[in-house]
């Protein structure tokens, strides 16, 4: 468990910008982003069930998906689709007797690096250290 890394799928229109912002905020912020591998996506609507499961299968300790707030998606409904697909992945994990907390979807604007850091830290604690809130 420990020592494994978390994949973060970031929408380039919002969360990715917030990530860049956060990563440039100095050593404390950098520490909170440790162990997380960012991946840029055109939209959270690009995420598919199989993609998330493959990441877990290939060794990701968890998959965090971050994108634009609802009703603010550049592609209009991409984040709504993401919401349904992530719900479906989590249900598949539960059905297989696995931990659905390994996958999480959240929404934030490009200016909200603060929220990104909080979520990232929370998710890492949850996935790598079993700390659930």
């Amino acid at each position: 468990m420990k020592g494994r890394r978390i994949t973060v799928l970031l929408c380039e229109n919002s969360a990715w910008k917030a990530w860049i912002d956060a990563a440039g905020q100095g050593p404390d912020a950098a520490k909170r982003l440790e162990g997380l591998d960012p991946v840029k996506l055109p939209c959270t609507g690009k995420v598919e069930e199989g993609m998330v499961l493959k990441l877990l299968e290939n060794g990701s300790a968890g998959v965090l998906v971050l994108g634009c707030p609802k009703d603010n998606c550049t592609y209009v409904r991409g984040n709504y689709r993401a919401e349904k697909r992530i719900a479906s992945v989590r249900a598949a994990l539960r059905e297989a007797g696995l931990d659905d907390g390994l996958v999480r979807l959240d929404f934030l604007s490009s200016l909200d690096s603060r929220k990104l850091l909080d979520i990232a830290a929370e998710f890492r604690a949850s996935v790598l250290e079993g700390v659930r809130q």
Partner: protein, 223 residues
């Protein structure tokens, strides 16, 4: 298309218990369209199984493959080697494909990964509904193109029954439209309501599955 839904994970895992080398074989036609057993679904199932196996400490090699369809012999040729290497094949084809696999590879255990449901159409993205029962003698010309055998829960040919309410069937007023309301509305729109005035005689059910498993021979196509 033939529609199906994937069996619950627990049922599949139960069927595969004790197997060491599993080939999950998808089908690229009907079940891809209704998103139950195509290449994507094979991938999802395979990943989920591997994750579950890892957690439980079960050793199982899972190979994934999808062929065009499993109801024509030729398409199996592309996966003969994978089939040979597997202990068991979990077919994500409809019931036809699963059985046909067994006829083409009689010595290889094959399991069904889907529950086959009905002949249907996509009435909206992600929603499929039944339209045909394969009764063997199509009469929808007399009913404005709406099938009374399939769309009426009681297959009435002189419907509706007393349970038709506000265009819905009493068997499931949320999900099932009254087939006879549909027939009535359609014939009315076509100006053909008179078609409903004659008493329609009892159906010959023997042309469908009530006559036993069917078979079609097209002589000019037989080699």
């Amino acid at each position: 298309m033939i529609t199906a839904v994937r069996k619950p994970f627990a049922e599949i895992a139960g069927m595969l218990e004790g197997s060491r080398k599993v080939l999950i074989l998808g089908c690229g036609t009907c079940v891809t369209v209704c998103m139950a057993g195509g290449e994507k679904e094979v991938g999802i199932l395979a990943s989920t199984l591997r994750l579950a196996n890892e957690k439980e400490g079960r050793r199982m090699d899972i190979v994934e493959a999808t062929i065009e369809r499993q109801c024509d012999r030729e398409f199996f040729d592309t996966v003969r080697d994978k089939v040979a290497e597997a202990d068991v094949v979990l077919s994500l084809a409809c019931g036809v494909g699963v059985q046909f696999f067994g006829e083409v590879f009689p010595e290889k255990p094959v399991l069904p990964g889907l529950d086959t449901k009905f002949y249907g159409a996509a009435i909206a993205q992600g929603v499929w509904a039944e339209r045909c029962s394969g009764c063997g003698t199509c009469v929808i010309a007399d009913f404005g193109g709406v099938c009374p055998v399939t769309r009426c829960s009681k297959s009435l040919l002189n419907g509706p029954c007393g349970g038709s309410q506000k265009g819905k069937c009493e068997v499931d007023p949320v999900n099932i439209d009254c087939g006879w309301q549909l027939i009535y509305d359609r014939l009315k729109a076509l100006g053909q309501l008179a078609k409903l005035e004659a008493v329609r005689p009892i159906k010959d059910w023997s042309s469908g599955s009530h006559g036993g498993p069917g078979k079609i021979v097209k002589e000019d196509a037989v080699l």
